[in-house]
Subunit: 546 residues, 2 copies
Amino acid sequence: MADKKHRILILGGGFGGVYTALYLDKAMTRAEKERTEVTIVSNENYIVFQPFLPEVISGTIETLHCITPIRRIARRARLYTRRIEEIDTQKKTVRLAPDFLPKPLTLEYDELVVGLGTRMNYALVPGMREHSIPFKYLGDALRLRNESVRALEEADIEQNPVEKKKLLTFVVGGGGFSGVECIAELNDFLTAAIKDYSNIRQEEIRCVLLQSADRILPELGESLALYAQSILGKRGVEIRLNTRLTAISADAAIIQNKQTKEIERIEARTIVSTVPAAAHPLVKSLPFELERDRIVVTKYLDVPKFPGHWALGDCASVPQIDGIKSPPTAQHALRQAKTCATNIVARMRGTSMKQFSFTGLGKLASLGQRSAVAEVFGIKIKGILAWFFWRTVYLSKFPGLDRKIRIAADWTLDLILPRDITQLKIFPAEHVQQEHFHGGEMIFDQGDFGNKFYVLTDGQAEIVKNGNVVATIDKGAPFGEIALVENSPRTAGVRAKTNCTLVSVARPAFRKLLTHLPGVRDSVGSIMQSHGVDPSGLDAPDEDED
Amino acid sequence: MADKKHRILILGGGFGGVYTALYLDKAMTRAEKERTEVTIVSNENYIVFQPFLPEVISGTIETLHCITPIRRIARRARLYTRRIEEIDTQKKTVRLAPDFLPKPLTLEYDELVVGLGTRMNYALVPGMREHSIPFKYLGDALRLRNESVRALEEADIEQNPVEKKKLLTFVVGGGGFSGVECIAELNDFLTAAIKDYSNIRQEEIRCVLLQSADRILPELGESLALYAQSILGKRGVEIRLNTRLTAISADAAIIQNKQTKEIERIEARTIVSTVPAAAHPLVKSLPFELERDRIVVTKYLDVPKFPGHWALGDCASVPQIDGIKSPPTAQHALRQAKTCATNIVARMRGTSMKQFSFTGLGKLASLGQRSAVAEVFGIKIKGILAWFFWRTVYLSKFPGLDRKIRIAADWTLDLILPRDITQLKIFPAEHVQQEHFHGGEMIFDQGDFGNKFYVLTDGQAEIVKNGNVVATIDKGAPFGEIALVENSPRTAGVRAKTNCTLVSVARPAFRKLLTHLPGVRDSVGSIMQSHGVDPSGLDAPDEDED
């Protein structure tokens, strides 16, 4: 047993996890390092610097420049880019999901550091998962940029004014840091981009920010928030306070005024949600005590009653010296990582542990166009000074010299070059997906060309022909199956009678893949026959629709 | 009728189509412009500069910098970013597929310019579509980069030497310009990237280039091709000449020596195919005469017997002055665009047309690491001089000053900064897909953890338990359905007896979406019962596997 290494296993590739590995390396002597094995498990092989995500929307920062490879920061740690399936705190093992090879991997540990962050809680708002773009990961920022360009492309050739308005309306739900920075960059991007679209005028662009509280940026003092509100307002952003997002459908955000209780539809094709956080399912599966979905830890960052178990970052409820719990920010995770690494080493050495003593440097929100608001050591700053401060602080914190240089180059080029309006179609359209419709909305109109077949999984819908309801569709029923055979106008429309959840299947996926599933071809065929449609077209070869 | 505009409709957003719009604008007088309407229909809103695609693999050029928005080049043209569904040369209309709105759009024209390029011809090699990464579009280059990093991540933690070798083998099929530049950049990238992977040594990386002819780069003279072969060979690239790719399966390239007829398996996880070209289905649907899948045009670029119809670029068979047909390159498409625009204007004015007189400037292939081979005006150059020439020529041809600056900045930073090894998981794994297995290959092993259910759509497979074949599976039969209920080791393996095509369905997709399809839940349930498995697990809620 003498030559067995002390195994420190870190779960999560955010600032908390990755910097724990880095600080462990700094805190240990050479002999200690040789007796120790540090492992990180992360879904991604890079760390995302969240404050720069909004700038990816506008292209001010290149997509890849707001992330840094974990291997470059924690050079001595072993990295597993895998999904975690199970944590067993009794046996002290963690099982990882298979990747290329269909074999799960089981890792053993002596010390476990949980830095798994949070998950998005889609459950609160119907349709949020299906019809909004979340704003948390790098892929989201890239997708939002793409969808915005797509909306501009479509709006530029759209003849129908109602549809054009819908295409040019952009809604962001959530008036915290993330929502405010998102709408600011999105609005700037759209304003700059439409110069290349001859049929879109500035006044046709509508950017709406929804906030349930009576002001935006609850993280900051009131005067800064009001300043930010007026700056955004001047640029044409419409801020709706005291407004709750109650549902999102395929073409509208359904909102409610918290005071008047009035319900309103904002018709829009592009809806972003800064989705509220919920506990990671793995965190919930642990036998640790949770407080508001976060793991309770001591001021030393270890989990009470579970020696050798530590938690930090957004998934942990970390007490500060001032008694307040640490907020979920990168600056706190980073300092927690230092405390955690120090205390793991102290435990190995049998020396005394240090308590977490950081209380925050300050808070910053960028408003785009060289403007920002900030609160630093209790001092409030705003405008171009805050913006300059914002850039300097974040750039200095950004991990890796190579990325610092790349970002500085991006910012420099951005001062002189036009905005990028290319639309990358690298997100393949899902062929089988869930959809949500709000009561009263049309699922499809009579005369539409459709290539989708639907199954109503919840709610009730009605068939509308020449303005009259001719039948109702109940839960479990399929409809629109004629689209599986031919590309022709729908002979009737279908409207959601109540709020509806559907599963839709596009023709190519059905024809190429799903008809092979046992039972499917025959069931759909007999539905068609009962509707008086010849099902033999299902077996004809379909055109290639790549 | 006097105030009706003359409508010129250009199909395709490549160099041919987009530059026709640009040159039309230059060739027309102001009065003519006012009487004319120029429209481009393109799948994408940008033009891809193909020669730079290989550099996206290695990150030398940022992803978005090798493309330019069409709107910035052809500023006065109207752009429709839509898929084309039908071309009617009798009625002179083109129908576009629906996008956000489920209504198809029909455009009328007086002059039609067809510049639709080619499609990939997957049909020649079984498994090519399912298991190889094509190399034609921007998304492909990005995907290849991601898959390569993923393979490195997995190899770094892989304990099984056979599997590790498979992960570190990279095969590129096709020894023309595109295949050679691809393997050169890929090899350079891997060599630079493994510095961050402590468990991967340079000699473990295997890069193989497959070429069916007896030398690479048939487009160039023999001496340059041999020079390129020796350069790549020195860097460790294995070049297999006289070798045909006969099939691609989930974990191997199956190749055949053209002389000895010997069949060989190269086990590899990453296989790239520079897929051969075939006619675009829309081109085939036209009543025009085709020659080797390309539209026959006169030396004026118009289609014989169809006045007002023009074709250019890769989809057209354009005669050069020297009697040879134009090769499918950007430099030719660009010059054809100029001739085509001139002649459209001549036709409008009733003046005489000009014949296409370009015969090519030269040919260049980059070999990475500041090396290239080129033939310019009959002169052969190679090495760093050719490389410098390559960069200068292409950069000068690249559309748009802003992109020129960005690319120059990329190249400058690349000289000093390390390669990027972040793996973006923005390509969602397909949940229902087709797979191909070669006779003798294991589809899954006994003991594997699997979350997929399969239906054999072609071929025959056998069930293997403890080394013995216990049953065979025929076409149409489903298997592996236990994976739909639980995450447990497979109780038996399944091996392809002949070449097999399968449809596979992952558990999350099945549980969330497909069980709603009529007939599916019951059919799969009864299959389970007939195999002695309790199907009630199908109805239990599944964990969230986002």
